[in-house]
């Protein structure tokens, strides 16, 4: 698993695999929206009815939520709460942690049920964990093989200055 300070890197191949798994979960769990967030609040992927949804804000608040409940868990001697569930009048949110580092969020309404979502999430989590393991291995390989090929190896002060103009 990735250490706390290594960057998360996403490649096209793994991204496609992740999207496929999320889309499958979306169908099988009869849910509305599914997204994956890094524990630091960066959105990794999203699928479903995301058009009217502020996914960036959702990602940041989800990570804050997991961080806060993780803090609570520690205080009472738990490692973490690996599943959170928030029930609303129409929509519900199911949040779970995958492989210790990534957060899976499923939003669903009365067309589905907590039981179904739980069941499908469990299966999808295992599959997603495999992809993230592959991703970690790939990142390590890339890092050791070709440090010079990083797209940022040659950025200049001018590149950076231009960002602010």
């Amino acid at each position: 698993m990735l250490g706390p300070q290594s960057s998360l890197v996403m490649y096209d191949e793994e991204y496609q695999r992740i999207l496929q798994l999320l889309e499958k979960l979306l169908r099988e769990a009869n849910s509305k929206v599914i997204f994956l967030v890094d524990k630091n609040g960066q959105l990794i992927a999203a699928t479903g009815e995301t058009e009217n949804l502020d996914t960036t804000s959702l990602a940041s608040l989800t990570a804050g939520n997991i961080a806060a409940t993780g803090g609570l868990a520690k205080l009472i001697g738990e490692k973490e709460f690996s599943i959170l569930f928030h029930e609303g009048e129409k929509d519900n949110i199911h949040i779970s942690i995958i492989g210790g580092r990534v957060i899976l969020v499923v939003i669903f309404d009365q067309r589905s049920s907590l039981g179904l979502v739980r069941l499908r999430v469990k299966k999808a989590s295992n599959e997603l964990a495999v992809v993230f393991e592959d991703l970690v291995n790939k990142t390590e390989q890339e890092a050791s093989s070709s440090s010079a090929s990083s797209p940022f190896a040659e950025i200049t002060d001018d590149d950076i200055d231009n960002l602010f103009n």
Binding site: P4, Q5, S7, Y15, K39, G64, S150, A153, I155, I160
Partner: protein, 195 residues
Amino acid sequence: MSFINYASREINCKIVYYGPGLCGKTTNLQFIYNKTAEEAKGKMISLATETERTLFFDFLPLALGEIRGFKTRFHLYTVPGQVFYDASRKLILKGVDGVVFVADSQEERFDANIESLENLKDNLEEQGFDLEKLPFVIQYNKRDLPNVSSVEELSNLLNPRKVPELEGCAMTGEGVFETLKAVAKLVLNNLKKGG
């Protein structure tokens, strides 16, 4: 910790504004939010008390433009400065790529600045970070007020390593973008080294 996404050709970095209570962290983000074009910013989220004190964090996502074909996104966070919110501060520091320390230049906040900076070091250490190795800039805020310590005095005390330091008045925006730019520069330069 940055997130490099080759699939969407994006790079995400996390910057945290730290400092004692009422030093002007939230005001920095509000100014940036107000002066940034609609298409370059997301919603600013403030989890605050009824008296506008930060309770958990402020969050402002910015899209600054492209570098070498990669969209650069910065996620700005502020911590709650009040001493008793320490547990929350620790959480916000997770995965940080760069830190802005906002000091309150007022004489009576001298000790509060020191205490907050020590707290920052401790909390970073707990996460396995070393402030000395992290992109770090300092803003001396509230320069508009009459009862301020001299920049020299503040610098001697808070900035022995001589990281980039800037004078600011977050209320009018003076120094705010300069500060952001200074830390962004350090963060991006750090990426260059594969950080």
